[in-house]
């Protein structure tokens, strides 16, 4: 039998501009990629895309620089060895089938990703639920949007974001709750910055334990006690009722359950004083914000992972929604609760039904009718009728041997699941681990029996849905490297080999999308909000030229809808919105004495576990090393200096990062970034510490609140190694972190024991290098050397005894593989170019590579605003991601000029 061919594989490539969608966050920006000779040579924002109107953040603007990872997987791997597709399929299909035969369908599982395209998701979901016969299919959306989706479901009878991005601009009050939008959704943040500039009356409130970069925009920042959000919004509901700010007629006509919800709040005690105490907020500020909410007609409450990633995230979401329902601030322009999604296609995955607790196309297991409907539509041979295991439970089942085969696609659970060490153990125990990824050595792939090489952004074609229900096309424009294949294509072939060829006849992704669209309208009759049946007969050409549209897209709304619930009709059985009674809880585990509460999250320029962003040196400019943000008083208490390594520990797992002094960090609380993993660091995978406590409704883990032990890392020496890629054999020190350079890699090192001799220690690791320039200090305080081959620099090593890191100069980062004369050799070991080099300072604007010194100089020369700076230096005029930093610099210099010396470090 001949293997099917995916005919939408890109094969020809003249120079052209291709309209596509960014693959990072939930904003879903339109991107124009310029293709030349099969390469993406430049990227710009699509002015006609409604999500971004031409704007891009630095991640998006660097998409073309992240396409050449040295770790890109080009061929299937079976037991770590390169193999043919035939071998890979043969091995996996037999093993998968025999596992099902021996242990039943529930002994196999899929773990998918919000990075997958809708079509990939659809095929996976259909295969598992309709033909293999299990609902053990869950995704990393469980880690990001499950709570918000569940809250929507409980309140609206469907997983429905009522509003759209425009609402954020036209509102009169914007509440940003648990969202560092400046970093996580930079383009939306820029839209709000613009809106606020044009209309200063727009009030912005940020509710976040940390004083984040987003707070630059805020009229009020409420540094709320972590996990107390439900108290805050219950208190608001109580306040609204007490002060007669509720919209009684809206409640009466369109809602149910208000009395119960209010009772729950009142019974728990929700007066302002109590709530301010529990939330650890200034009562006057809290009161002002309550009044603002109450007295403003157009309010949008944007909430994100600070709400979702909690053991009571669903309740928190409903506490927010309750306040909007109680005041009728929903279904209108500029008035809505708005959960903003982390991933590019978290919503697309939910539409498809790619989660263990839902079925397909916004149908659930709660009715036999739905199961039957989907079974009929699919002509399913083995339809499952019950929910499957959610992510955390799924890996527990793997650990316990109940699930014996797992297929992980486009995600990295060994680094991102809570208690990631446990997940690794589970994978170690699992009989069959299949991984589909474009990178062959992710933390998860290390545990795989088989790794399938997949296409990635720029190579594959399919739909994504952003946070405002807007479906856009990600369009393949360059050929797949090596033998990489599309995920849907791999799944289709797998299904065919399992004997389901008839139900999986797909040759092009458009065929899958049409089927998905058809299912959304199948026996729908207005009962399900998600209905894109108008797209069910798209031609291939229409598909490839797809214009972004917000669902529903059906007979009634052929051009989609910006807002839902304008008619005040919800998707519950009664068609009324439902007030969920919320009893507020703090997180389950409180910190013991001397412990700190660890919060985790993103940095501005990295994405997830850096599979893509980790290959661009530019994207390490803003933050290149794992860190721990700590309040200055806590720093002193712990005996830490800025830049010292600090160790966080929980359950024996440990996280090492640089201590960063942050005034905006509450005492007793720390923040650590989520991105670093074994490819980039020795011991900085923060999710190994996070506890796997989950929300009882959504199954979403508590990533934002983890008590940890904290202490200074007792390094006796620090090191710095720059090495060209071909000499990199990995680092052996207790602490190391890898940072890509234009031509090679940089490692920062630290150790708790001194080697006998630095000189022999380093030379043993680079035995092929003969030409060494070396600096030895007989006291052993310092050691430095540079190794060259044919006069070109291949490695530089600096070591220093003591607790503090090596001083670095950006000049050194560009010297690898360059020919070096005698003078340069001194400089290599000095680690700097010497006095002749005029330093531009730390790079602030990465688009134009403008440094801090140049910027400060321009400010002193009279550029007193970011706009003026942009005119002079161009900084901040491309992606705009650095605007908040530019603003801080302007303020900083002007404050210094005006004689005020106190300068807060805000970010």
């Amino acid at each position: 039998m001949s293997e099917l061919t995916a005919i939408d594989q890109v094969t020809s490539f003249p120079v052209k501009d291709v309209n596509t969608t960014c693959c990072y966050c939930g904003v879903g920006c339109g991107v124009i990629a310029t293709i030349d000779e099969g390469q993406i040579v430049s990227i710009r924002g699509d002015k006609n895309h409604p999500a971004n109107s031409g704007r891009l953040c630095v991640k998006g603007a660097s998409l073309h620089e992240t396409h050449h990872s040295p770790d890109r997987l080009l061929h299937p791997l079976v037991h770590g060895q390169e193999a043919s597709w035939e071998q890979a399929f043969d091995y996996t299909v037999k093993k998968f089938q025999s596992t099902i035969d021996l242990h039943g369908a529930d002994s196999v599982a899929f773990y998918l990703s919000g990075q997958l395209l809708t079509e990939d998701y659809y095929v996976a979901n259909k295969l598992m639920k309709g033909f293999i016969g299990t609902s053990n299919i869950d995704t990393n959306s469980r880690l990001c949007m499950a709570s918000a989706a569940a809250a929507y479901n409980r309140a609206f009878g469907g997983d429905i974001v009522p509003g759209c991005y425009e609402d954020l601009e036209v509102a009169d009050l914007l509440m940003l709750v648990g969202s560092n939008m400046a970093y996580t959704h930079p383009v939306i943040y820029q839209r709000i910055v613009k809106a606020k500039k044009e209309r200063p009356d727009l009030k912005v409130v940020v509710i976040d334990p940390r004083r984040t970069a987003t707070c630059d925009l805020a009229d009020f920042h409420l540094p709320i006690a972590p996990g107390s959000d439900a108290f805050f919004f219950n208190g608001l509901l109580f306040f609204l009722n007490q002060k007669n700010f509720i919209d009684q007629s809206f409640i009466d006509l369109y809602c149910e359950g208000f009395e119960n919800a209010l009772k729950a709040v009142t019974d728990q005690g929700a007066d302002l004083t109590t709530m301010a105490g529990l939330c650890d907020l200034d009562i006057n500020e809290m009161h002002q914000v309550y009044r603002l909410f109450a007295e403003t007609d157009k309010v949008v409450t944007v909430f994100s992972q600070g709400i979702n990633q909690s053991s009571t995230g669903v309740d928190k979401g409903n506490a927010i929604i309750n306040c909007h329902l109680a005041t009728g601030k929903i279904g209108r322009k500029g008035a809505t609760p708005f959960a903003i999604t982390g991933q590019p296609n978290a919503m697309g995955g939910r539409e498809v039904g790619g989660l263990a607790h839902i079925l397909a196309a916004h149908m659930n297991y709660d009715s036999e009718e739905s199961v039957d409907r989907v079974a009929r539509f699919w002509n399913a041979s083995n339809m499952t009728a019950k929910a499957g295991r959610k992510a955390v439970d799924m890996f527990q089942d793997i650990y316990d041997g109940k699930i014996k085969a797992i297929w992980i696609m486009a995600t990295n659970p060994a680094a991102t699941m809570p208690n990631a060490g446990f997940v690794r153990e589970a994978l170690q125990r699992c009989d069959l681990v299949m991984v589909s990824d474009c990178i062959g050595n992710t933390d998860t792939a290390m545990y795989a029996n088989v790794v399938f090489p997949t296409t990635t952004w720029g190579e594959k074609t399919g739909m994504v849905t952003n946070s405002e229900r807007r479906i856009s096309l990600q369009k393949g424009a360059i050929p797949a490297p090596g033998e990489a294949r599309h995920d849907w294509h791999i799944l289709t072939e797998f299904a065919r080999r399992l004997g389901f060829g008839e139900a999986f006849p797909y040759q092009q992704s458009v065929e899958i999308f049409r089927e998905h669209a058809l299912l959304s309208g199948y026996e729908n009759e207005g009962g399900r909000a998600f209905d894109i049946s108008a797209l069910a007969d798209l031609s291939s050409e229409e598909y490839l030229n797809f214009q972004p549209v917000q669902w529903p897209v059906n007979e009634k709304y052929p051009n989609g809808r910006a807002r839902l619930f304008e008619d005040k009709r919800f998707f519950t059985k009664s068609r009324k919105a439902y007030f969920v009674p919320v009893v507020a809880h703090f997180p389950q585990v409180r910190p013991k004495a001397e412990q700190a509460i660890m919060n985790t999250g993103r940095v501005r320029d990295q994405w997830h576990t850096m599979g893509r962003t980790g290959s661009s040196c530019k994207l390490f400019g803003h933050c290149d090393e794992p860190f721990v943000d700590i309040n200055p008083l806590d720093m002193t208490k712990l005996g830490l200096q800025d830049g010292d390594l600090v160790e966080l520990k929980n359950r024996g797992a440990r996280y090492l990062g640089r201590a960063q002094k942050m005034i905006g960090q509450r005492r007793g609380e720390v923040f650590a970034p989520m991105h670093w993993n074994s490819r980039f660091s020795s011991s900085s995978c923060v999710d190994t510490l996070v506890n796997s406590f989950t929300d009882p409704y959504s199954g979403q883990p508590e990533f934002k609140h983890c008590p940890v032990n904290i202490k200074a890392y007792d390094a006796v020496w620090h090191g710095l190694i720059l090495t060209s890629e071909e000499f990199n054999t990995g680092m052996k020190t207790d602490y190391w972190v890898k940072i890509p350079l234009p031509r090679g890699l940089k490692f920062r090192l630290a150790e708790t024991r001194l080697p006998k001799s630095f000189s022999s220690w380093i030379k043993e690791q680079f035995p092929l290098i003969q030409d060494w320039a070396e600096f030895n200090d007989s006291d052993g305080d310092y050691f430095r050397c540079a190794g060259l081959v044919n006069g070109k620099l291949k490695i530089v090593f600096h070591a220093k005894r003591g607790k503090s890191a090596i001083d670095e100069h950006p000049w050194l980062d560009r010297k690898l593989n360059e020919p070096c004369n005698v003078t340069t050799r001194f400089a290599l070991l000095a680690g700097q170019p010497g006095v002749a080099f005029e330093q531009k300072g730390r790079v602030i604007c990465y688009c134009y590579e403008i440094g801090e010194k140049s910027i400060r100089k321009a400010i002193l020369d009279g550029c007193d605003s970011t706009a003026a700076l942009g005119e002079r230096l161009k900084c901040g005029t491309h992606c705009g991601s650095c605007l908040s930093e530019l603003n801080s610099l302007v303020k900083d210099e002007l404050r210094a000029k005006n004689g005020i010396t106190e300068v807060d470090k805000l970010i």
Binding site: A773, F775, D777, S778, R825, A830, V835
Partner: protein, 414 residues
């Protein structure tokens, strides 16, 4: 008027006269100089560049005979034979008798004797006088193979000069590494590698047992290691022996040389000694800087001015070989009491060592790149605490702020 008599007309005398003439001494002294080289005073440090053909001979001559006339100084071309201290007179070989009120011995030194047999053969020269160098330069044009004996500064400079004049050179050195009085072993060996690169061959750890010839002109050197090296020119540069004999014969207290006190006065108050013929606190002199200091001290003493005591100053050594940079000062061999900062770059022929005691530089050895020698030397002389820049000091002043270091040091002392 007092009679001031100087015996010897080398560089020390020249310098002393310069120092002396800064004072109004013409009303007080009649100055007489006795010299055995008719050219007057010349700058011996330029002999190496002369051999290397880098300068002309007129550049060496500092004080031609006419200069003495202009200054009202009597110059006598002659050799002193004896000093009669009891009647303060000096007999010259030609029979002249000169009287003095104060006598200054600046008789210098001569090449040290070696034990090699047959040193009388033609084309065997020392590397000491202008005459030596002119002869060597002249012969170098016509011969193919030369042997240089001695791996100190003079020997290396001679070898290098000969190479530039087209000769094949073998250098024979008694020590186990070059410049063993200025460098540590690693630097000395590094230097050898550099010079080998310049086509100088080396025979280390041995001496010339004998020179051989079937005629008058030397043909080969037989070494103590058994090897025979063919040569038609030999330059012996095995160090110097102070010319103390004149002083010793007149009963002055002598050790290796004529002993002087902190004011350059010998055991006879009326007699001073300066330069390579004198010995102070057990030390004899070959480098320019301490001798200049002696001249300054003696001049101010003679002029009746406030004088400081002589103390051996730190001296930096450099090798006068273009392209082969050596700088050395202070300690050069590491002991347990030192902290050393060492930069090695064999591929670039660069070696740097700083020796520290109590966070102060006490020794400098630079090979291959001596640009920062003077800065380190200044830090050493001023005893500047360098602990704060110990990580980058060795890479040179491009990488640390010398001025602020010096400033901090001043502050330190206040």
């Amino acid at each position: 008027m007092k009679e001031l008599l100087l015996i010897g007309n080398g560089m020390s005398t020249g310098r002393l006269l310069d120092e002396l003439l800064k004072y109004p001494v013409s009303s007080e002294f009649t100055i007489t100089v006795v010299g055995d080289e008719s050219e007057g005073s010349y700058n011996r440090t330029l002999l190496s560049p002369l051999l290397a053909d880098e300068i002309d001979v007129d550049l060496l001559i500092k004080k031609p005979v006419s200069w003495y006339q202009q200054q009202g100084i009597r110059f006598i071309h002659g050799v002193a034979e004896r000093v009669f201290r009891e009647n303060k007179t000096v007999y010259l070989v030609d029979g002249q008798t000169l009287e003095y009120d104060h006598l200054i011995l600046a008789t210098g030194s001569r090449p040290a004797k070696t034990s090699s047999v047959n040193q009388h053969l033609d084309n065997i020269y020392n590397f000491r006088t202008l005459k030596d160098v002119l002869m060597i330069a002249n012969k170098a044009r016509v011969i193919q193979h030369a042997v240089v004996v001695g791996g100190g500064l003079a020997g290396l400079e001679a070898a290098y000069g000969l190479i530039l004049r087209g000769a094949n050179v073998t250098l024979v050195h008694r020590g186990d590494y070059l410049l063993n009085r200025q460098l540590d072993q690693q630097a000395g060996e590094g230097l050898r590698r550099v010079l080998e690169h310049h086509n100088i061959r080396f025979e280390m750890d041995c001496e010339v047992d004998s020179f051989e010839s079937t005629g008058q002109v030397v043909q080969r050197a037989i070494l103590t290691n058994g090897k025979a090296v063919s040569c038609h020119l030999v330059v012996i540069a095995t160090g110097i022996t102070p010319n103390k004999e004149l002083g010793e014969a007149s009963g002055l207290d002598c050790g290796v040389a004529i002993r002087v006190n902190d004011f350059m006065t010998s055991s006879d108050d009326s007699i001073s000694a300066i330069g390579e013929c004198c010995e102070h606190a057990g030390i004899t002199f070959g480098m320019v800087e301490p001798i200049w200091l002696q001249c300054k001290i003696l001049a101010s003493k003679l002029a009746g001015k406030v004088i400081t005591r002589f103390q051996m100053p730190a001296v930096a050594t450099t090798l006068q070989v273009s392209g082969v940079d050596v700088f050395s000062a202070g300690d050069h061999t590491t002991t347990g009491a030192h902290r050393t900062l060492i930069f090695t770059d064999p591929a670039s022929y660069v070696y740097r060592k700083l020796l520290l005691k109590k966070d102060r530089i006490v020794g400098i050895v630079l090979l291959g790149d001596t640009r920062d020698g003077q800065y380190y030397f200044e830090l050493m002389q001023k005893r500047v605490n360098v602990s704060k820049v110990a990580d980058i000091l060795i890479f040179g002043r491009d990488f640390f702020d010398l001025e602020s270091l010096l400033e901090a040091n001043q502050f330190d002392r206040v």
